[in-house]
Subunit: 385 residues, 2 copies
Amino acid sequence: MTNYFSSNFKLGILGGGQLGKMMLYSTRKFDITTYVMDSSDEAPCKIACNKFVKGNLMNYDDVYNFGKQVDVLTFEIENVNVDALEALEKEGKKVFPSSKTLRTIQNKATQKLFYRDHQIPTSDFTRFAYVSEIEDAIDNGGLEFPFVWKAAQFGYDGNGVKVVRQLSDLNNLPKGECITEDLIPFKNELAVIVARNETGETKTYPVVEMEFHPEANQVEYVICPARIEETVAKKATDISLKVSKAFNHVGLLAVEMFQTENDDILVNEVAPRPHNSGHQTIEASYTSQFEQHIRAILNLPLGQTESKVGGIMVNLVGAEGYTGDVVYEHIEDILKMNGVTPHIYGKKQTRPFRKMGHVTIVNEDLNKAREIAEVVKNTIKVISK
Amino acid sequence: MTNYFSSNFKLGILGGGQLGKMMLYSTRKFDITTYVMDSSDEAPCKIACNKFVKGNLMNYDDVYNFGKQVDVLTFEIENVNVDALEALEKEGKKVFPSSKTLRTIQNKATQKLFYRDHQIPTSDFTRFAYVSEIEDAIDNGGLEFPFVWKAAQFGYDGNGVKVVRQLSDLNNLPKGECITEDLIPFKNELAVIVARNETGETKTYPVVEMEFHPEANQVEYVICPARIEETVAKKATDISLKVSKAFNHVGLLAVEMFQTENDDILVNEVAPRPHNSGHQTIEASYTSQFEQHIRAILNLPLGQTESKVGGIMVNLVGAEGYTGDVVYEHIEDILKMNGVTPHIYGKKQTRPFRKMGHVTIVNEDLNKAREIAEVVKNTIKVISK
């Protein structure tokens, strides 16, 4: 049995952003030696890891050489060189989630095909090698407005996704591989985080509800548990487990879904790592998603996923019109509020819509938490000097 | 209003042990630049602070020069050079808790005199300059067995305290300044942590109960909330507030008390910092004591001190008979248990009774938590290779 704690064991995290930073909360708590690689000197992970390596996550050699230094390798972002991960696995290095899982997920087209191949419900879609092919499809009647355009690779956090209602909406889109999806009217956007360790022990977190900001396509409130019927929650959980099983995944898998007008569940996309919808678990759950991810990839027993209290998360994104050294205006006012705690990721520069932190609001009464969350949202502002 | 978050503001912590380490959980969460000073290269705080300074906490120059580098200075251990703190205060530096508070508390004799002077109930005591004076007092009938001997300075964690039942128990005690206290039969050992910021906003945590290990004089279980009557809890809280007010303290003040057979409350001693009895707040409370200490010393609004769930803490101390590179035997077995999470401080070497970490057990049902805590205690063992 490997001794992970206060030992010579080394965990490696590819990516030094806020997800990695919050993983470090757990590695510090457990005194697990952790190396982190990121290309930025100002990466939030730079403090609190045992060794910080500067490197390009998409570069084969950088990723390969980093992986050689550690015993178990994981990542906090999908944009890493997956060929290097595969090479490391072939040499017997433990990489979780696997390169196979990442390769499927990294490309939205292969991801959708994966769902289709495994009978996982998802919206109808078409794959295109070039955006220009979309225009052809519209011309010959194979594609109708409105639809959702998604870049096949490198979309993140609202970028790389667009609702197309007329031809001009296609202007200025990246030209390459993409998919179009049916625009499904939905009641709710939901997410379930599934945790699974190497042994196969599996646990799911309660279903969460995500309220989205219409223009920026970013989440405004994450609400846990989702305010939906038990039957719908069960359906969402079952489908998430099916996705997890299909991937044979190790670590966390966040499954984003739509609840249609008919209460059907359709998988939107997945992320093989801790997820924005799970940040509230730090304060609301018996086991934070970050600790859970660490437990899972080290094949330690999984922790309890029940909630202690209701939890709501509000993202802190850079306000429009402000770029520069960040100032969290009125943060002291939200610190007065019961059950409210902000997380500041440590990015020194703000710009419009940049994810700078989040605020979690916990309360035994979820409705009260939602009220307080709205006040929080209308109080704190991420501006610049 | 000072911008503490992602700014040029610098917080300084004297002492790099586990209390400082857990304060860093909060400074990392808030992205508050934090410097730490400790004499050991292997201090738990070395990772996760922005700058680690090696220095002697009892050395005037080391403490003074460290304090000059930061905007607000605090400490996680009482054994620091208090003259240097006083000099820094005179120059306008913010030091919390104050040098005045620390000076009174650092010496157990002056601490007891402080309670007497402020009509704070505490056991009767006598102050001695030398242990030899104790023998004289016994000879002339001024002091009777049994009594409690306490070194006036530098006692920590069971050392510097001894129950004296016969003359030979005085052998091998440090010779210098000390106090003797009446040995009070008590029902329970309790603690209340009081938080107070510069503005005077004050909050108290729920009363906790401490079950002690008879020989080692270390806490075995910390139970929150204490299983005592409401009237006793209120008395303990009121007395704690009285102590806090008398000190005019800023930051956290942990007040340790005895509940006598008559349900009277006597103050045993205080610690002007986060305290072992408050570790369970990380998982059980709406606001961890560490975040609370940071809020208080920065004059931020205090967080809610209510509990989300019942919480019990078990200390992880080095097992007898083992010295060397630490191994946490059976830690994977406790990770299976619901609501259980270990904290590993990061000390590489274990020795008998050394505080190496703690395990928190949370549960909605405190009795269930207590059962699980006992299993935890009988399962995990801190040994060496």
